[in-house]
């Protein structure tokens, strides 16, 4: 039977990443010792961007999988396909990453079902192997293979916590929104706006984060601030941009929308 494994591209251009702490050095150390990495932090605070940056820095291909609750083991490992009249095995992203010695990034791991995520266990401890049951294949991971997972501890759901048995296999890096100054730099650079506007957007972000738990599940993430900046640099007014990219993105509740409008108008 034929085997298909997707070609994995590596990242040639340096992604823009603004380090906020010791994460770059720690990640390099984990990679050097072939230890899997867990990125904790709220959504939109730069975890994905960080992994892209590290993949570039370590010159390894990157495979990213966004986890969701219908993700099956086959979606990760691979499956048989019929191509023409042949039955062919097609590697899933995880298998492909192991074969190629890539970084495999499982984003929002808690969203996947528990019976799916067990396949990463033997990869994440000292065995470093991937078992592809269907093919009867035991695939040892090359030195360059690195498993990275992320999760957002902000979920209050007990269901969406990582089991300690999983968590303890990983080097954990904690992410949070950057300090106001760094965040303004990021927003200016990513959003293509001047520093003054970036600062105001960051201020707005801070005000919305004050409302976390007071009607908002989460405050505005760096991502949302960058989005607002991008809308401004595409020619809209800051108020329009903030309403569309931040206020409406954060809530559907009419009362809360009104409050966010108030805050937007206070800042600009």
């Amino acid at each position: 039977m034929d085997l298909l494994s997707p070609q994995l591209a590596s990242i040639d251009d340096e992604p823009y990443y603004q380090p906020v702490g010791e994460e770059v050095g720690l990640f390099e150390a984990a990679a050097a010792r072939r230890l899997p990495v867990l990125l904790k932090g709220p959504t939109g605070c730069g975890k994905t961007r960080f992994v892209e940056y590290m993949a570039w820095k370590l010159k390894r291909p990157l495979v990213t999988v966004a986890c969701h609750d219908d993700l099956t083991t086959a979606d990760l490992l691979g499956r048989y396909l019929i191509v023409g009249s042949e039955t062919v095995w097609m590697d899933g992203p995880l298998t492909a990453a192991v074969r190629a010695g890539a970084i495999c990034y499982l984003d929002e791991i808690v969203e996947a079902r528990k019976d799916t995520t067990v396949v990463i266990h033997p990869l994440a401890d000292s065995r470093r192997v991937l078992t592809v049951d269907k093919r009867g294949e035991l695939l040892p991971a090359p030195d360059d293979f690195l498993l990275v997972i992320s999760y957002n501890p902000g979920y209050q759901s007990i269901l969406k916590e990582i089991k300690p048995s999983t968590r303890q296999r990983f080097i954990a890096l904690e992410f949070d929104y950057p300090s106001a100054e760094l965040e303004a730099q990021i927003v200016a650079s990513e959003g293509g706006v001047d520093e003054a506007l970036a600062k105001k957007l960051v201020k707005l972000g801070e005000l919305t984060r004050n409302l976390k738990g007071q009607g908002l599940d989460e405050g505005a993430s760096t991502r949302l601030l960058v989005h607002a900046a991008q809308i401004v640099s595409a020619g809209r007014t800051p108020i329009e941009a903030a309403n569309a990219a931040i206020a409406r993105a954060l809530t559907d509740d009419p009362d809360m929308t009104q409050t966010l409008d108030d805050l937007v108008r206070a800042v600009f």
Partner: protein, 689 residues
């Protein structure tokens, strides 16, 4: 008839006559005194209308006469008549309370009469509260100071007037509310109370005037601070206020400098007082009460220092990893200037409560005072150290769990406020369930049949374009097709479809004292129906009762846990459900939410069975507080993916329910007898697939 004013004794005599029906022996003398200064025409009006009103209802006549002097200040003669008539009208149509409210709201009546669209505190409260929360990291509550009083803050509560009617449009008056609140917020945020104002102005003879100057000068300074951080808000405030009066021009550069503090305002205040002017009256300035603010601030600082010290003590005790001996605690500014706390050399995070305390201290004092950074003597950090005195019971054993409770006054949680004890129900009569089963035999077999039909199973779908398994039948067909030269179908896989009834239900049963009797019987019978239905269905379910006595003793009674079989022990516990104490609903919802959330299923349902509004011993939980906390707890459940359904037995309808259940749905049963027959149906409807 002369138009000489009536003297006190004459008024008293006439009032006695017109208000003869008055049941109160309130001081007619005092009332007469207050009317003495009115003109004769006005006095006659009062006596006339008070008499008319008293014929309808004595209280109204009395109230009217009491308010008359104030009414004449605000209203002309026609206005006075209209006011009285509106009040009597309100009585006829809506009853006593609305009538009294209307009469008391003189300002509102005037504004409306003058065609001005006023804004009321009650209408802006929610929106402003959220706005202020957004502005400030720390919880500032809003309160109404009543009509006619100026706005002020004690640094924890922003006191705002009852209504504003200064502008002609309601929108502008609402903006005026916002500007008022924003300025008070700025006082707490930018250090107006960071010095002892009382001491600073003690030598000035005219204290009210000194404070008026200070309010004004601070407004200028704060306005500049707001403009730096929140230019949009500053613009809106400036539009409402207009330019600063010319007289202030010499002070502007100093007050508007980025480095200006309240000391600059105090220094300039002396110059203005010395110059002998009167402070110009500007809109939305409010007033300062430095004495009250200072007291509240000192209490807060003491409390927060204590929280922080206790947290540090706990870190020091618990964090020590070195054998025998305490951890080494080290506190120093980190790279970014923020305080960094190290235990044995490792940076540690403070518990959220302590973090908030540290932040508040920095806001109050500019930095953390050394005494806040020395760990408290002994004992760990307990959030209950924050608790004030109350009606709480003391328990002899540690709580199994603690839960935050939502305090709507503060729009914030009281941390670890409720102490939960999980206990088992004392088993009841072994024959009870059987007896009920016999009595309802027909109903039960009907329920069983209906629910068995709903039950779903895992299914495997064949001939899919993709899937986990190869579909052998399809493969064989494809092979044959190929052999015979036919294009084979690419649908060669099987896919497993999960049982869509992956579902767990939690039933929360009111065991408060008010359920004694019929309600308790109905609850127990309903649970038996439910168990029959759910056993047929195969959904996992749990049943817990709740009751308690104050926040320190919230009892959760285990009747059937998830995974327990519906066996004799469970049946006897159902029989043993009895009416006990009070109904603190929020904490029960939180605890059961936690148990339910841990179930590895897709759909989770929380059903509450209760017989009325939340209530607990002491006044605190009764009324709005309990309703808001319950609502918040249901919101939290929702956020964890739990759908809630509230079944309430309340003969008087339940006006509060719509608000209370928030994101949940509900049914009100006006008759307990309906519960057993209805409950299974409700469940089936809720979980239909």
């Amino acid at each position: 008839m002369t138009d000489r004013r009536l003297f006190e004794h004459e008024l008293e005599e006439r009032l006695d006559r017109v208000l003869f029906a008055s049941p109160s022996h309130r001081s007619i003398t005092r009332l007469a005194q207050s009317l003495e200064t009115l003109s004769r025409r006005q006095q006659d009006k009062v006596l006339h209308w008070a008499g008319v009103a008293a014929k309808t209802y004595a209280e109204i006549g009395y109230l009217l006469a009491t308010l008359a002097p104030q009414a004449f200040e605000l209203l002309d003669d026609d206005g006075f008549d209209a006011w009285v008539i509106a009040g009597l009208d309100a009585y006829d149509r809506q009853g006593l309370r609305p009538a009294m409210e209307l009469l008391r709201d003189l300002e509102g009546f005037r504004a409306e009469r003058e065609g001005r669209a006023l804004a009321r505190y009650a209408d802006v409260e929610a929106r402003l509260t959220r706005f202020v929360h957004g502005l400030s990291g720390r919880p500032l509550a809003l309160r109404n100071v009543g009509s006619g009083n100026p706005a002020w803050t004690d640094t924890e509560i922003l006191f705002l007037p009852d209504l504003l009617a200064e502008r002609s449009s309601a929108e502008d008056n609402r903006r005026l509310f916002k500007a008022t609140a924003a300025l008070l917020w700025a006082q707490t945020r930018y250090g107006t109370f960071s010095v002892d104002i009382d001491a600073a102005i003690a030598d000035l003879p005219d204290r009210p005037q000194a404070l008026a100057w200070l309010t004004l000068l601070e407004a200028v300074r704060l306005d500049a601070r707001i403009a730096q951080e929140l230019p949009g808000l500053a613009r809106e405030m400036a539009e409402l206020r207009g330019p600063w009066p010319d007289g202030l021009a010499p002070a502007l550069p100093r007050l508007q400098a980025a480095t200006a503090t309240v000391q600059d305002s105090l220094a300039l205040l002396r110059e203005f007082v010395a110059a002998g002017g009167v402070p110009p009256r500007l809109t939305f300035l409010g007033t300062l009460d430095p004495t009250a603010a200072r007291r509240v601030r000192a209490e807060r600082i003491a409390k927060e220092t204590k929280v922080l010290r206790n947290a540090l003590a706990a870190l020091k005790g618990a964090g020590g990893r070195k054998q025998g001996g305490e951890a080494v605690l080290d506190i120093a500014p980190g790279e970014d200037g923020a305080m960094e706390i190290r235990v044995d050399g490792d940076v540690v995070a403070l518990p959220p409560e302590a973090q908030a305390a540290a932040q508040a201290l920095v806001q109050d004092l500019g930095e953390l005072p050394p005494e806040a950074l020395s760990p408290a003597g002994s004992g760990g950090w307990l959030p209950t150290d924050l608790a004030g005195p109350g009606t709480d019971l003391v328990n002899d054993r540690d709580a199994d769990f603690r839960y935050d409770e939502w305090d709507y006054h503060r729009s914030a949680y009281r941390k670890g406020w409720c102490h939960v004890y999980e206990v088992e129900v004392k088993p009841g009569d072994a024959d009870y369930v059987e007896e009920v089963g016999n009595r309802h035999r027909a109903l039960i077999s009907q329920i069983r049949r209906r629910f068995e039909a709903v039950r779903g199973e895992d299914r495997v779908l064949g001939r899919q374009p993709e899937g986990e398994e190869i579909d052998l039948d399809a493969q064989v067909d494809a092979h044959i097709d190929r052999r015979s030269g036919i294009e084979p179908s690419p649908r060669l896989f099987c896919r497993r479809i999960r049982n869509e009834r992956s579902m767990a239900a939690m039933f929360m049963v009111d065991m408060s004292g008010s359920t004694k009797g019929w309600v308790n019987d109905a609850e127990r019978e309903s649970l038996i129906m439910l168990c029959e239905a759910l056993e047929a269905l195969g959904d996992d379910y749990a049943i817990y009762g709740f009751s308690g006595w104050t926040r320190t003793r919230c009892d959760i009674y285990r009747i059937k846990a998830f995974g327990d079989r519906y066996d004799d022990a469970v049946k006897r516990r159902i029989a043993g459900i009895e009416a006990r104490d009070y109904t603190r609903m929020g904490v029960a919802i939180r605890h059961l939410t936690r148990l339910l959330a841990a179930q590895p299923v897709r759909h989770k349902l929380l059903v509450t069975l209760s017989d009325g509004r939340p209530d607990d011993f002491g006044d605190e939980y009764r009324g709005t507080y309990g309703i808001e906390d319950t609502r918040q707890a249901l919101h939290e459940a929702r956020r964890q993916g739990i759908r809630s359904y509230c079944v309430t037995i309340d003969r008087h309808g339940a006006d509060y329910l719509k608000r209370m259940v928030g994101p949940a749905a509900y049914t009100v049963l006006d008759e307990v007898g309906k519960l057993p027959t209805k409950i299974a149906d409700i469940y089936r409807r809720l979980t239909a697939n």
